[in-house]
């Protein structure tokens, strides 16, 4: 039999041996993951709604989930949670696009001051256009919003300067930006605050080069303030709630968007030292699970899927090995810990996705 390059490849290189022929919970598409985190490693997170799951698991897995904006200690933890302190490492809410992340860094260091004025609601309350859903009930005045934003951006600076590992989940390519200065918003103005005005706002669907450029600018800025920072990129498996792409179908645009992000992530990891890709997108969307990792709405990710992702993450990044895969371990514990399951279910519900507002009619 003739020899050829495939003969020497490990099982993970073959679909049958590593995907189709493997028990679902044991599929491991990670490959080589060079980054190691220790219990004392400060891990910060940002990104789309899927990143909230990562944050939640890090909090409960014995690792040092780094929260630079915790809220004041006189506020009970449950109320801080409700007001989005700790949902991510700072109270920036969901960061869906690479452009948003780049501009967050630029805003934090005063290199970009968007012209967009605070959004005033009909009841007089005030939203921060760059995190419009972060404060339940909104801010009571422009002054309060501006003070809170200053505190928030100070926390963002502290976070970038002192984190060890930054986990960023790329969520979307579609975004709305101000025509005046290119400032991008997490949500289209008018959806959750603000008033849509086509003469002021314009839609952009980022291409690969744009995502790579934005991430490159962010990473360069991060290196300047924290040369040792390591970065983990993931792509959110959560489909678009809606697309604004002209004549686009939401399914096609979802595939396009995720494909762009996946390619961009690979290009960045291949060229920028200290950046690592973790395949949570593949774990959730891979055919091996036959759609089981998506909830009934075919959009939200089930706790079983998140557990699979985080089990592999902790295994590869922290060397935490488990006798049983995370998903199977959950199943075996479920019968004897009904309240724990209910707690997890509640936590699942807690992961709120701003994008839901797009489909609110």
């Amino acid at each position: 039999m003739a020899d050829h390059p495939y003969r020497a490849l490990p099982p993970k290189a073959f679909w049958r041996k590593s995907v189709a022929g493997v028990v679902m919970a044991e599929v491991d598409p990670v490959g080589v993951f060079k980054l190691r985190i220790q219990p004392e490693t400060r891990v910060a997170t940002a990104g789309s709604c899927f990143a909230q799951h990562i944050a939640r698991h890090l909090k409960t897995s014995g690792f040092r989930y780094y929260v630079a904006e915790e809220g004041h200690p006189i506020v009970p933890q449950a109320i801080r949670d409700k007001h989005n302190y700790g949902a991510f490492s700072a109270r920036y809410g969901n960061i869906y696009t690479a452009r948003q992340l780049r501009q967050l860094m630029e805003r934090a260091y005063g290199r970009f001051i968007p012209a967009e004025a605070p959004w005033i609601e009909p009841d007089g309350t005030v939203r921060d256009p760059f995190r419009p859903t972060v404060q339940p009930g909104n801010f009571v005045s422009v002054a309060e919003m501006e003070i809170d934003r200053q505190q928030h951006l100070a926390a963002v600076r502290a976070m970038f300067e002192t984190l060890d590992v930054f986990v960023f989940t790329l969520g979307l390519t579609e975004c709305w930006k101000a025509r005046a200065d290119g400032a991008v918003f997490p949500l289209c103005p008018g959806v959750e605050g603000g008033v849509f005005d086509a003469s002021r706002y314009v839609f952009e669907n980022q291409e690969v080069t744009a995502v790579v450029a934005d991430m490159g600018a962010f990473l360069e800025a991060l290196r300047l303030v924290n040369p040792l920072a390591q970065v983990i990129l993931t792509v959110s498996p959560v489909p678009l709630m809606a697309t604004a792409a002209p004549e686009g179908h939401v399914l096609s645009q979802t595939i396009y968007s995720k494909s762009v992000l996946r390619v961009a992530a690979q290009m960045i990891c291949d060229t920028v030292p200290g950046v690592h890709y973790f395949p949570s997108y593949e774990i959730i969307t891979g055919a091996f699970n036959r759609g089981r990792y998506f909830a009934e709405d075919l959009r939200n990710v089930t706790e079983e899927g998140v557990a699979h992702v985080m089990g592999l993450f902790l295994s590869h990044a922290a060397g935490i090995m488990s006798a049983t895969p995370p998903a199977a371990r959950r199943t075996s514990q479920a019968e004897e810990a009904t309240d724990a399951f209910a707690r997890h279910a509640a936590e699942f519900v807690e992961v709120e996705c701003d994008e839901v507002a797009l489909d609110a009619g």
Partner: protein, 239 residues
């Protein structure tokens, strides 16, 4: 019947010093509620208070002062991580340098949560057949004799500094507002501080200061008593 926390003492003091026309002291019962084994204060158990409240006639008046005290617990003294609320157009400029500003909607929820975690209040109010009124602690004092207080914490002497006056005032105002909203959902009337007892900025007028940091004196208690009497007779309250 007047039942509540330590802020009922000023009414008891007013009754004790009362001179001239007014309701005979025998028609007013003041109960300082003892809320359980951990509390060293109070003269009336929860069970006794409940029995007394249940015995009130429809024509009686139940006055309570049980909630609205958190601003003092968290804000009378400067926290090791100083904090305050952001100014509004109605408040004087707050010194925000070096202190964390907590959004009002966050702090409102803290106050609301605290009110809801005082079940005895709802139990007593729900047991009454008569009109129920609640008054909050008096507004903060603008200044104090010293800069703070010394306390023994875990056997160690600790000097606690008073928080800045506008921070204390802002917290009191917000908690009173939250309590008023909370009471409206329980069909309990909120009794706001008589204007005459406050300075133009909203602090407790010096004429009504008790000799500690948080309480009002018998003169303030007398103001309240007179208003409660008017309520019983269907008359409007004093300004």
């Amino acid at each position: 019947m007047i039942v509540g926390n330590s802020h009922t003492r000023m009414i008891k003091a007013a009754l004790a010093t009362r001179a001239g026309p007014g309701m005979p002291a025998g028609d007013v019962e003041v109960c300082w509620l003892n809320l359980g084994a951990k509390s060293h204060f109070g003269d009336t158990s929860r069970e006794d208070a409940m029995t007394k409240v249940r015995s009130l006639e429809v024509s009686d008046l139940l006055v309570m002062s049980l909630i609205g005290t958190l601003h003092n617990l968290i804000g009378l003294f400067e926290h090791e991580s100083p904090f305050s609320l952001a100014m509004t157009t109605n408040d004087p400029p707050e010194t925000s340098a070096g202190r964390q500003i907590i959004p009002r909607n966050v702090m409102s929820e803290v106050f609301k949560d605290y009110a809801e975690r005082t079940p005895v209040f709802k139990q007593l109010a729900g047991a009454a057949r008569c009109l129920v009124v609640h008054f909050c602690p008096p507004p903060p004092k603008e200044g104090f004799a010293g800069s703070g207080k010394s306390r023994i914490v875990d056997g160690v002497a600790v000097q606690l500094e008073y928080a800045p006056k506008y921070s204390r005032l802002a917290l009191w105002k917000l908690e009173e507002q939250v309590v008023a909203n909370y009471l409206s959902g329980l069909n309990v009337h909120h009794y706001p501080v008589p204007l005459i007892a406050a300075t133009p900025e909203g602090f407790l007028s010096p004429a009504y200061h008790a000799n500690d940091a948080t309480h009002a004196n018998a003169a303030f208690g007398e103001l309240l008593l007179q208003d409660f009497e008017r309520m019983l007779h269907g008359l409007p309250r004093s300004p």
